[in-house]
Amino acid sequence: MAAKYVILPCNGLDKEAGCLARELALKMAAATGSEIICPVLYQTAPSRYASLLQEGSLVVIDGCATRCASRIAANNNLKIYRKITMAEEAKKRDYNPGPDWRVGAGAAAFVEDVWRSWQPVFMEAEAGRVPGENAGLFAGPLEYAIHRHDKFIFRVPLAGFYFNENDCWVQVEGNRGRVGISDYLQQNLSDITFVTPPDPGTEVEQFGEMGTIESAKAVYELVSPVTGRVVAVNEAILEAPELINENPYEKGWIAELELTNFEADREFLLDGQRYMEVLKEKVADFNAGK
């Protein structure tokens, strides 16, 4: 049977973060029956892995902030299903990778913990869970306000959406909130190439990080407009990040949260009308070169 996942890990050599990436790759491969791609051999002889990459979803595991594995994937136009960065995982857990290359007990426990947090993501996909099972709950915007500038047209939903000044929105239904980025931000970023949504189960605070979006121009840290627990991510944008460019308020939603403090959060958010004013200022400032 073909491997469901194909893992492209960091070379994992002279920094502990790299060694941890390698350990996680081995652990994941053993647990899921995945195949591992040697990053160096892939670069030297890509045809060797061509059929593997066609059969399985690609999981990239980076070690340090240099993110060699991601770069190798990007250089070869590989479509990434999930990206795990050990340096970021360490930051989340207050674990400090040191200069050691031997994986001691502390490091082994850290890798185990990282795998425990990611395992449900891969197991849910294995079980064929349909993402966005509450799709019917969130209807698309009924009406948009439009701001035109030169050849650009920016849309802002008039009702049901709240924004922060970081150009992220939340659409609220009961105690659920769906979050994404605004039309203005997606146009600024241009062609989006990769999305790292927050992991399901993550507790996110208002104005806390909730993943990243990468385009050819920049890597953008998403700032959550609300506090809550991530209950679903939009799996469709992992396969097709361009959905955010095409339709940032509907098909391009990023994650769904169970809201825990929305009444308080709302005081720091902008409704569609007020966000439109902020958007106009941003467009004017951008064109003034500020």
Partner: protein, 140 residues
Amino acid sequence: MPGNSSRKVYVIPCSGIGKMYGLLGREAALKTVKELRPDKAATMCLALLVYGDNEARKEIAGARCITVDGCPKLCAAKNVEHAGGRVVERVRAVDAFRNHRGVDAGTAAHLTAAGWQIAEELAADLAAKVDRWYDAGEEQ
């Protein structure tokens, strides 16, 4: 010439992922630079060179390099040369098994005790090579 030998000798293994020989070479290389000859030897992550990191290429340019490869593809030797390193020794992990025929050294994920023993022997060999090239100076 004094000072010429001060530049460290690079010991660069292949990534060591996916095959036991690669893992063995990787462990031997790391033991050499981290434990046996930290003052004379350094290593570099091969993936940095492979994807064309400019800083890594500058660092390696013209430097004496001992490459350690696991499989016959010789990724380390080829990529280090391609990146501008001076490969003074091409070591193959498989050759370390000449005196250990039939030994179960482990898997791509873990070495057995026998595997670690072979890695230690290979590391000692690498350390001797580092000494030779470090002491010879850069013009050699």
